[in-house]
């Protein structure tokens, strides 16, 4: 089951340039939260803090508290954090040297799943959850790079789900995909949110409306507005939110 995350005073830097200004936000369990805002406002930085990927960038650092039931993510070992908080990236990035099967099985093997039957079962379950099983079940041994872009992205989702995270971060997961693949991914997100806490960054406001229960609007590294998606889009409280969603800037 998903878990809620409460973020308090989260700031982030690249070198001396501050990109997040003391963000406070509550991400509720088993909901999908959309993160919107103009390019460069810190959306990616925000989600990358949530799984401690931010700090792998040379010169980057972060401050603040990110509380999960397990405790403060900032105090846990990053490897443990990333098992709980999975991530899907903007560009599909399956491991190019591995087969479809091994792309999913790698992390499972490394976390100690040895039995073949169990591996096969968990790979199948993840592929089914990512709505990819029927398309690749005869091609499990093929290189992952032989799949289409949309299939590769669903493979990446399956790969993230296989390690059984509680939170799933998605940074513009459909921006590199065609409209049909995009709709499939959105469908998938609506299904998955009953079981995972999902944070999805998107530039597509319609997409936010279609998939997200709640929406957060970022501007220049600050959280400007956060609330139920319908509220944010229909009755924004802040002028800047209104300007952004009505297309007046961004």
């Amino acid at each position: 089951m998903g878990k809620s995350i409460s973020v308090a005073g989260l700031s982030a830097w690249y070198g001396d340039q501050q990109t997040l200004q003391s963000i406070d936000i509550e991400l509720k369990a088993n909901t999908a939260t959309a993160v919107i805002g103009p390019s460069g406002c810190g959306k990616s930085t925000f989600v990358r803090c949530l799984n401690r990927l931010h700090e792998t960038v040379p010169g980057a650092r972060m401050e603040g508290r990110i509380e999960l039931e397990e405790g403060d993510l900032c105090r846990m070992h990053p490897v443990d954090v990333r098992r709980i908080v999975g991530m899907v990236f903007q560009k599909p990035n399956p491991f190019p040297t591995l087969s479809v099967f091994d792309n999913i099985a790698l992390a499972l093997r490394l976390s100690g799943v040895r039995r073949r039957s169990e591996l096969a079962e968990r790979v199948e379950r993840s592929l089914r959850m990512a709505a990819l099983w029927d398309e690749v079940k005869d091609r499990l041994r093929h290189p992952a790079t032989a799949l289409s872009g949309g299939q590769q992205q669903r493979l990446c989702i399956a790969r993230a789900l296989a390690v059984e995270p509680e939170v799933l971060l998605m940074d513009e997961p459909a921006s590199a995909l065609d409209p049909v693949s995009t709709l499939r991914i959105e469908e998938l997100i609506r299904e998955l949110k009953s079981r995972y806490t999902i944070v999805i960054v998107t530039h597509n406001l319609q997409q936010a409306i279609r998939v997200a229960d709640r929406t957060a609007f970022f501007l220049n590294g600050e959280l400007i507005e956060f609330g139920d998606t319908s509220e944010v889009f229909e009755h924004p409280r802040d002028r800047r939110t209104e300007d952004y969603i009505s297309g007046r800037f961004g």
């Binding site: 040379p58 990236f89 399956p94 491991f95 040297t97 290189p143 390690v163």
Partner: protein
């Protein structure tokens, strides 16, 4: 009009020069191969296959009568069996690789991923400086520092702990021998392999590494299961590069090898000689051979070494091509 004609001549000249220059590597390789093969023909006729199966290397009585043997002239009692040197070359370069490859890959990963800024530049500079140390300096250091340490501490230590493993037991002697040669060669090729692998690893797109991190893999797991497979082709090339260098290295192994003659290595500490070292070491006396057979034998040794290094590189290339065809890896080559 006249200017047009002049520039046409310049162009023809340029193209001619370019053609000559681009043919140069091939011409040079063919010329060198031709010289060493032609030089070794008498020795090939004299020794036949025994050149690579025999272990007795004896220039014969250089001041006595010259005997005629199967139509070729050689000093009485001369025998050129190069197996000892062949084994010495292969064994010392293999030990060097076993040590150098893991060390180089880990150092390269640190340089490419773990350090940055001035520290990265500094460490990279150090690695490149190490590559520039003349091999005679390595040899001297090997004689003065490394060999005594191998003879007194490392050798007995290994023999004590792993003595039950064939080839690892036995007396370490003076320390001049196979193990010291392998260690010195390892030090000499580590900078070469490290620099090549570092450049390969830096070309791995960050996206793939983040994919690994995002799944909760450790830095080591990402290196082992994501980055290294992506650069596999180039890695094989880098190892072949280091291997070729180790087999051809002359001065340092001449100094620390212990100059074995007519005796195959019995264990890790035995004295050895490599093909390159023997050529350098024996050329002087070979030149006093009135029948010239000794020089021909050294030429055959050189031909064998050349074939071996070229073959290593070709096999590596073939491996690389086969790997490259079977998957659609965005591979990166040296």
């Amino acid at each position: 009009m006249s200017r047009g004609r002049a520039s046409r001549w310049v162009d023809i000249g340029f193209r001619g020069t370019a053609a000559v220059c681009s043919a140069m590597p091939l011409v040079l390789l063919a010329a060198i191969l031709a010289v060493v093969v032609a030089g070794s023909l008498p020795s090939i006729r004299y020794m036949g296959w025994q050149f690579i199966t025999g272990i007795t290397w004896n220039l014969g009585n250089l001041y006595g009568a010259i005997s005629v043997h199967g139509g070729v002239r050689a000093p009485a009692g001369a025998s050129y069996g190069a197996l000892v040197f062949l084994v010495g070359t292969l064994a010392s370069s293999a030990i060097a690789l076993v040590i150098a490859v893991p060390v180089s890959v880990l150092t390269a990963a640190v340089l490419a991923y773990q350090v940055r800024g001035p520290l990265q530049s500094l460490l990279s500079l150090l690695v490149e400086l190490l590559a520039g140390i003349p091999s005679v300096v390595f040899g001297l250091w090997g004689i003065l520092v490394l060999a005594p340490w191998v003879g007194r501490q490392l050798g007995p230590g290994i023999a004590h702990v792993l003595g039950w493993v064939p080839f690892l037991g036995g007396a370490a002697g003076t320390g001049l021998g196979l193990l010291s040669s392998g260690l010195v060669l390892a030090l000499m090729i580590i900078p070469i392999i490290t620099a090549a692998v570092r450049d390969l690893l830096m070309q791995v797109p960050r996206l793939y590494r983040e994919g690994g991190f995002g799944l909760g893999l450790t830095s080591w797991e990402v290196l082992r299961h994501v980055c290294l497979p992506i650069v596999r082709e180039g890695l094989i090339g880098a190892v072949a590069l280091g291997w070729g260098r180790a087999m051809g290295e002359t001065m340092a192994v001449l100094m620390v090898g212990g100059s074995a003659l007519n005796q195959l290595p019995e264990n890790l500490y035995s004295p050895i000689s490599t093909m390159a070292a023997v050529i350098a070491n024996q050329l002087d006396s070979a030149l006093t051979d009135a029948s010239h057979m000794a020089v021909h034998a050294l030429a055959e040794l050189a031909a064998l070494l050349l074939v071996l290094t070229v073959a290593t590189n070709l096999v590596a290339r073939l491996l690389v091509n086969r790997v490259g065809r079977s998957t659609t890896v965005p591979g990166v080559r040296v």
